[in-house]
């Protein structure tokens, strides 16, 4: 088995027109046959310098994954917080600068997990080509950020959503045989939503920012389907797909209104 990884992020028309920076970021890393990670982070538009925060969050997350070969989510979280804090001190960042989501896929040996802290989409292509998508949404476009734990242990966030039992976030699953939505209480999503993947089943697993839900004239399912339709999986394969997608978008709309990011791991089951 061999892994290839790549990532891409692009500014949305709203930020471009407003002279704002791209607040999405993506990162990927592999050692080819044992470890692979793909990460995206989406900075909050109404936060501080979240273009910097999203980069810090993505890099902290990657480092934390590398430091945790057993992929223990809580241990990864602790390491992420530790790295975030150190980066904040070193760069004099404020808590509001760190309001950024963290979505990742990680593979260590034969274990693969994906995790969403915030909102966005996880998508995977089975070895037979079937696509499954899992979208995490938070009510009122108020996703959880791990920075909230450091700030007040989520107190204000829970309150803003109407309490720990309020159905503040939902999971929308789309697969080849239908789709369904599951509402969840706020409390269940505070530290993130994880999925364990059977590595033998998939050839592509990707994470996306919620920018895929805001592409002019396109449904998010179609956006994800198109972005997962790689023509090749070598080198900058995600960047090539994203660039062609953006070009094609211009034919029928304005393209992404919000910033958009994706990171993907390709699993080559035939490679020795």
């Amino acid at each position: 088995m061999r892994f290839t990884v790549d990532h891409s992020f692009h500014i949305g028309s709203q930020h471009l027109r407003g002279g704002m920076p791209c607040q999405d970021y993506a990162l990927s890393h592999t050692d080819s046959d044992f470890f692979a990670a793909a990460i995206i982070s989406d900075g909050c538009s109404s936060g501080g310098k979240t273009d910097v925060g999203s980069r810090v969050v993505a890099h902290s997350t990657l480092t934390a994954i590398i430091e945790n070969p057993h992929l223990d989510e809580r241990s990864i979280d602790r390491h992420c917080h530790d790295r975030d804090r150190r980066a904040m001190m070193a760069l004099c960042l404020k808590p509001e600068d760190m309001l950024a989501t963290s979505l990742y896929i990680a593979i260590w040996g034969d274990r693969a997990i994906s995790r969403v802290v915030g909102d966005g989409v996880i998508a995977a292509v089975h070895r037979d080509g079937r696509l499954v998508m899992n979208k995490i949404d938070w009510a009122n476009n108020m996703p959880v950020y791990r920075a909230y734990e450091r700030r007040d242990n989520y107190r204000d966030f829970i309150s803003a959503h109407g309490g720990p039992d309020a159905l503040g976030f939902s999971q929308h699953v789309v697969s080849w045989d239908g789709e369904f939505s599951l509402p969840h209480p706020v409390e269940a999503g505070l530290v993130g939503t994880s999925i364990d993947h059977d590595l033998q089943m998939f050839r592509l697993i990707a994470v996306f920012s919620d920018g895929v839900t805001q592409v002019d004239g396109m449904d998010w399912r179609e956006v994800v389907t198109q972005l997962m339709s790689f023509k090749s999986t070598g080198g900058a394969f995600v960047k090539r797909r994203m660039l062609r997608f953006l070009k094609d978008c211009q034919a029928h709309g304005k393209g992404p209104i919000d910033d958009i990011a994706m990171a993907c791991i390709h699993i080559d089951h035939e490679a020795e």
Binding site: S232, G234, G235, K239, R240, L243, R244
Partner: protein, 249 residues
């Protein structure tokens, strides 16, 4: 970086007896490439300055390595002479600069007539065909072709009309974002009018008479080639051709 040990090179037919090679596309890593094609006259009349001509090719390729876009160049170099089977000797197909073995140019020898039309046809056709393969795999590409000759065509299978059709196809089908073709005459004072006529008939972007061959002129020609390549590559993604290329050397 691809290993160009034969397994990473593929041969493609262009129809007729023409073919070209290129790096296996699955092994390419960037998002976009400029295809650089250099066709060099190796007819008998270049014998007096063969070593300078080879030095010019080497200097052109070497200068491309210094371009900020060097990682995004795929370079093909072919020699043309009626002494080669089919009139064309492809030294190497479209490959990354890092994989170019400069010693291969030393093996070129001069002799025979000048199948200039065939060289131009294959050069543009190879760029078109390879660009389509890149496009299908979601790479962006543009191209620049140089045809360096010291004389008129002395016979072959292709005609100026065929070249014109191939050049028109280069951008019409949009596999190449832009394509520039440059016919360069060296020691070609006696046939400047004929080469100028051929440039117009074939729809080649530009004809440049580089004058008599001297070491200085060939050095300038090498600089011109690399600057044109760099300029073309920097224009990739803008949707248009490069800035105007100087008409004199």
């Amino acid at each position: 970086m691809p290993r160009l040990d034969g397994t990473d090179i593929e041969t493609h037919n262009l129809g007729g007896n023409f073919s070209f090679t290129g790096a296996r596309i699955a092994g390419l890593g960037a998002t976009e490439y400029t295809l650089v094609d250099i066709e060099v006259d190796m007819s008998g009349s270049v014998s007096p300055f063969l070593s300078d001509l080879i030095a010019m090719i080497k200097a052109s390729v070497e200068a491309c390595r210094k371009s900020p876009r060097s990682e995004n160049l795929l370079v093909r170099v072919a020699a043309f002479s009626s002494s080669y089977p089919g009139g064309i000797n492809e030294v190497h197909g479209f490959i990354p600069l890092a994989s170019v073995d400069q010693t291969a140019y030393d093996r070129l020898s001069a002799g025979g007539g000048t199948p200039l039309f065939d060289a131009c046809y294959v050069g543009v056709g190879a760029a078109n065909a390879y660009a389509k393969m890149l496009f299908d795999q979601e790479f962006n590409a543009n191209g620049i072709s140089f045809f360096i000759t010291d004389g008129e065509d002395t016979g072959g299978a292709a005609s100026p009309a065929m070249i014109k059709a191939e050049i028109a196809r280069a951008t019409k089908e949009e596999f190449l974002e832009s394509h520039v073709s440059i016919l360069i005459g060296i020691n070609a004072a006696a046939c400047t009018a004929a080469l100028g006529r051929f440039q117009k008939e074939a729809g080649i972007t530009q004809y440049i008479d580089a004058g008599d061959v001297t070491k200085g002129k060939l050095a300038k020609l090498a600089a011109f080639v690399s600057q044109s390549v760099s300029s073309t590559s920097q224009a990739l993604g803008t949707g248009g051709p490069s800035q105007a290329i100087a008409a004199t050397i």
